[in-house]
């Protein structure tokens, strides 16, 4: 009898587990399907190449938001990548096991746990008001750097740590300096992992709204300098949904966003797969 009941529990449990998986998959299909079905019909060449009108009308396309997004990501990466890689190198290659390292690690972990709105307020206080960059691409980018730094550092550090310790030993035993070892062996081996980290950060930057809302302003025009404001794709979705009645435009913009995110995910997976294969010596 016990056997039968064990089998029945097993069946029920499995049903529950499969149910969970199916619900998750359904959620994804509903969300993505809804956005794409509602949004894609409105996406056309004109939509992509005209500027939004701004204000309460919700008319126009998304050109300036695409430009702002690219601008913002470019500026962010220029600052983020060197600091992030440097930081990760310090943590994985140099950091001794002492109080200072623990403080730095604690800083990074805490930073990673702070919600983006807090970064936004911080950016507002420091960059927008104290340093008077006003609502601008620069303020937004600096805030994003603060926000993304923990992601960049931890992902890069993972990539560096995935490089076998034996490579380091071998290089040092051949009589290289520590920096030669890092720059010639460790970094090149970790490049696909680091690229993955960068793409991950780009993905997050594209999706970020809250902290940019209070640092970039909402100008619908194409920004002409670092110190001018702008709105990213995500911000545009928010403005359209909350301040206008142009839900169709909001959906169209959201559809564009989702397609970008899908592409970025695919790219990340592909790169990560390559990285793993390379570490296993299959490439």
């Amino acid at each position: 009898m016990r056997n039968v009941s064990a089998k029945q529990t097993q069946k029920m449990a499995m049903a529950g587990i499969w149910g969970g998986g199916i619900i998750t998959l359904l959620l994804l299909i509903v969300i993505i399907g809804y956005v794409l079905i509602q949004g894609l019909p409105a996406v056309n060449w004109e939509f992509l190449t005209t500027n939004p009108k701004g204000g309460l009308s919700g008319e126009g396309g998304i050109l300036s938001t695409v430009v702002s997004t690219l601008y913002l990501i470019g500026v962010t990466l220029v600052l983020l990548v060197p600091i992030g890689i440097g930081s990760a190198i310090y943590l994985s290659e140099y950091a001794p096991n002492n109080r200072l390292t623990r403080i730095i690690r604690y800083g990074i972990e805490t930073l990673a746990g702070i919600p983006s709105i807090i970064f936004g307020l911080f950016g507002y206080a420091l960059f927008v008001t104290v340093l008077s960059f006003n609502f601008s691409i620069l303020s937004g980018a600096l805030t994003l750097v603060c926000l993304l730094l923990p992601t960049m550092i931890t992902t890069t550090e993972e990539a560096l740590k995935a490089v076998s310790y034996s490579y380091r030993e071998a290089a040092l035993a051949l009589g290289t300096t520590r920096w030669q070892m890092i720059s010639r062996i460790v970094l090149p081996s970790a490049i696909p992992g680091i690229v993955t980290a960068v793409i991950l950060c780009i993905g997050r930057a594209i999706g970020e709204t809250a902290c940019l809302y209070v640092t970039m302003g909402g100008s619908a025009a194409i920004p002409s300098s670092l110190l001018e404001g702008g709105r990213t794709l995500s911000l545009h979705v928010y403005y359209l949904a909350m301040e206008t009645n142009a839900m169709d435009k909001a959906m169209a913009t959201a559809a564009v966003l989702i397609i970008i995110i899908i592409l970025i995910n695919a790219l990340t997976n592909w790169l990560a797969g390559r990285f793993q294969k390379r570490m296993k010596g299959l490439l």
Binding site: I32, G207, I261
Partner: protein, 278 residues
Amino acid sequence: MTRYFTDKLAKYIVFISGFTSFIILLLIALFIFREGLPAFSEIGVFDFIFGGVWRPGIDQYGILAMIVGSIAVTIVSMIMAVPLGIACAILLAEVAPSKIRSILRPAVELLVGIPSVVYGLVGLVLLVPLISNIGGSGFSILTASIVLMVMVLPTIISISEDSIRAVPSSYREGALALGATKWQTIKGVVLPAAKSGIGAGIVLGMGRAIGETMAMIMVIGNSIAFPRFTFRCRAYTDRQHSTGNKLCYRHPRERALCYRCRALYFYITVKQRSYYLP
């Protein structure tokens, strides 16, 4: 000897960049407490946290309604997300054949990647009218909780899955060799062994739920009265005050208050971190 010079130089440069994050953290703490603390002394911590009324016009600054709103949304969404997330993690790690896994896994990753405004938007357009059929306007804790559930689900799934996978297969083999069914093995051996990892996943998911802003503003409405289920309420409203309406900063008093909430929140985050991080 240039290579020795490069070696030294590189060491200092990476050390400085390593220290950047900590400096950023210090700056954040500095700014938020500097702006927030004076208001605390002005109104008093007790009144601030347990004051039921937020009405800057008549000098009433209590955030109790927002705290209750936040807690309610978090709890309801976690109640929905935790069982679903764990079930899905078990499916991915233990049950599903690799073909299904190769569909489900990217799906979960995609859920992480979708920007929160898109969640908010879908919630606003799809869910709000749906809930309003049940009663109220649709801008409610329930709506917010469902949206939040979808948002924290991937966090819980991926962290739980990783920790389930990290359980050595010898444990499973040991249990199966004793004649246990697959479910008995999962329940009796795998889940207990992966307990701490799953716990971390839940806590991280909760962190994401508490900190989420944009999607919440879009689906929860902006009421400052005490929340009733399915009715308008405002979760942790000061967020919306500062973010949703930049005008609030015109009133210096109110701006200070916003920062005070920040300070409180910051403290909570730091505390919460220290619980589940080694």
